[in-house]
Symmetry: C2
């Protein structure tokens, strides 16, 4: 029984939320890379994204072909209210588990 979002799901969902109406594969990849300062393969973005959609936390639709220069149509993602609910849940868990960390930390060094 699943407890809550996995970390990649959390990060990707946050990226979609932050990108508002400009969230699609490429921008999401860039965003999560910026957020984490790590390389993310395309698969590491799309596969969890696909799973988030299956679970109802994001929705997607194809954009019109109108582009600047070549390129396939974008598949735009938006967060659903179930997705936001899920983010709130994990956010709360995070607050609880990390509560008091940075201050206590000093004592452990």
């Amino acid at each position: 029984m699943k407890k809550y979002l996995s970390r990649p799901e959390e990060i990707i969902l946050l990226a979609v939320w932050r990108l508002k109406d400009n969230a699609y594969g490429v921008t999401i990849k860039k965003k999560v890379e910026k957020m984490t300062e790590k390389y993310w393969s395309i698969g590491a973005v799309y596969v969890p994204l696909e799973r988030l959609e299956k679970k109802g936390f994001v929705r997607s639709c194809l954009s019109k072909p109108k582009s600047e220069r070549g390129g396939r149509r974008k598949r735009l993602f938006t967060i659903t209210s179930a997705g936001i609910y899920e983010l709130n849940k994990i956010h709360k868990v995070n607050e609880v588990i990390w509560q008091g960390y940075s201050t206590d930390k000093k004592e452990t060094w």
Copy 2:
């Protein structure tokens, strides 16, 4: 290529850290259940704990048989400095990815 701690690893490692010199299977299970307000099976605690040890983020040793009332010897876990380093890393990532969330959130409702 692994990016950072998974969420169960994060939670368990934090529990070990918080429990200081009283971290063993049963207390860790109780602690993570309290932290997350969810049921954790024994396996859901020990298996990741085992992996954390293999990766060098915790260390363990058996306690002396001295107990209050029956029972097997405890296997006491302690966080290593590599473990603390890893916690700091994930803590930083968390701060970045959630930065400004609760205040911005209101606008999305």
